[in-house]
């Protein structure tokens, strides 16, 4: 239930702003596995991923007011924070070239996550499946630029060079992919 999940996040965030360490632990419990999985995917290294997640949670503790509830879900805010940090870390470490050799494709929809022992809310698991299915429903050329940017941490200029296509085409495909994902993932009004 996204509404219930969002409500819990908002309550934790409210308490966090008051310096409640219990709220911090609750948010860690809810989002550390997702954050670590994302950071691991982007950086490709456990130590770097650990630093990324550490810095993101510490930034959240120090500046909880950076999240504006009127602008969207806490989950999106925090995981974007982790993603940005992970991308910046990768660029700083200059490991882009090595990472291009890594497997870029996502696991098949319905495939099991490799992470054992991760307990997460059923709603998150369902949403994950929906996102993966939506990604696979994109045209190949759109999914490719999206994955290279988001999970590969590459800039659009780098993607254009690597794929041998104009930068404008990368931009157009990226926007088209994001719009289609948005349409597919938008909650229905029913």
């Amino acid at each position: 239930m996204p509404d219930e999940s969002d409500r819990l996040d908002l309550e934790c965030h409210r308490r966090l702003r008051q310096g409640d360490r219990g709220a911090f632990e609750e948010l860690y419990r809810r989002y550390a596995p997702g954050a670590y999985g994302l950071a691991l995917r982007v950086t490709g290294q456990e130590l770097l991923a650990q630093e990324v997640v550490h810095d993101a949670f510490l930034a959240l503790w120090r500046a909880p007011e950076a999240f504006d509830p009127s602008r969207g879900a806490f989950r999106s805010f925090f995981l974007s924070l982790v993603h940005h940090r992970a991308v910046d870390t990768v660029r700083r470490e200059e490991r882009l070239r090595r990472r291009t050799e890594r497997q870029m494709n996502l696991p098949e929809p319905g495939g099991e996550d490799v992470a054992e022992g991760v307990v997460e809310e059923a709603w998150l698991a369902t949403r994950r499946k929906e996102v993966r299915e939506a990604l696979l429903a994109l045209p190949d050329e759109q999914r490719k630029v999206l994955e290279m940017a988001y999970y590969g941490g590459e800039t659009q200029a780098q993607i254009a060079q690597e794929l041998g296509i104009p930068l404008g085409t990368v931009k157009t495909r990226t926007l088209a992919a994001m719009r289609k994902l948005r349409q597919m993932l938008e909650p229905s009004d029913e």
């Binding site: 911090f24 632990e25 860690y28 550390a32 596995p33 954050a35 670590y36 999985g37 994302l38 691991l40 995917r41 982007v42 650990q50 997640v53 550490h54 949670f57 959240l60 503790w61 120090r62 500046a63 909880p64 007011e65 950076a66 504006d68 602008r71 969207g72 989950r75 999106s76 805010f77 995981l79 974007s80 924070l81 993603h83 940005h84 940090r85 910046d88 870390t89 996502l106 490799v114 992470a115 022992g117 991760v118 997460e120 998150l124 949403r127 994950r128 996102v131 999206l146 988001y150 941490g153 800039t155 659009q156 200029a157 931009k171 157009t172 990226t174 926007l175 994001m178 948005r182 993932l185």
Partner: protein, 244 residues
């Protein structure tokens, strides 16, 4: 604004939320996000939607159990720092010390009033005075990209890992932003802390040996969003001359 203009802005926003822009595109996105998006309901909506979609993309990476020691480490650091915010706590104190040494002659009466409620005021002032009154301190003046008159300086002593940053007529960063201090050597910058002015004044102590660097830079960045290299708009910069 034409449809093609909005298409261009949408592309910039998409690249921005994916952290995939660089160079001129990144600069243009920053300008659009600062100047156009806040005034355009359509673009604000697009930004929120694409940010949420980017957040969904994070889920597809799949969860992984973080190292058990990570939470322990966070607990320790939180205990040590308390609920510390990236605000210039005690900046009035540092300003009082800084103006004494560098000859800025205003604010002292105001400062002492403001300081009256601060804890361990005497100790902090004593520390600041101790730092700045030592022989061999140098000051560095910043160039600014702002049109409004503002003055930012840093005081340091080669070999001493402490820098006092002080400024006057410093405008507030945009809502949701902070100023970020960077130090650089041979073009590679590292962030050393965030701050915001209090009523136009800045006075902070940073644990940095500035003599190890050749540049010091202050950019405006989104609050709470760490960055490994300067990404926001540059506000003040200075070159650190090697001592003769």
């Amino acid at each position: 604004m034409s449809e093609s203009d909005h298409q261009r802005i949408d592309e910039l926003i998409a690249g921005h939320v994916l952290r995939a822009l660089e160079g001129e595109d990144a600069a243009e996105a920053e300008r659009v996000l600062a100047e156009h998006v806040p005034t355009c309901p359509r673009c604000r909506s697009i930004l929120d939607e694409l940010e949420e979609t980017a957040g969904d993309l994070a889920l597809a990476a799949g969860p992984a159990p973080p190292p058990e020691l990570l939470l322990t480490r966070l607990h320790r650091e939180i205990r040590e720092t308390g609920h510390e915010r990236r605000r210039p706590v005690g900046s009035w104190i540092w300003m009082a010390a800084a103006v004494t040494v560098v000859g800025l002659t205003v604010w002292n009466a105001v400062l002492h009033t403001r300081l009256s409620n601060e804890m361990d005021t005497k100790r902090r002032i004593s520390t600041a005075m101790g730092v700045l009154s030592q022989p061999g301190y140098r000051t560095v003046s910043f160039d600014t990209t702002r049109k409004a008159p503002s003055h930012m300086r840093a005081a340091f002593r080669p070999g001493d890992a402490r820098v006092v940053l002080f400024g006057s007529n410093i405008p507030d960063p945009k809502p949701g932003n902070v100023y970020r201090l960077w130090v650089g050597r041979q073009g590679h910058f590292v962030p050393r802390g965030d701050f915001a002015p209090e009523e136009g004044l800045v006075a902070l102590l940073f644990p940095i040996d500035l003599s190890r660097y050749d540049e010091i830079l202050i950019t405006e960045e989104p609050a709470g969003v760490p960055s490994a290299e300067p990404a926001g708009q540059e506000r003040w910069s200075a070159t650190i001359q090697r001592a003769a």
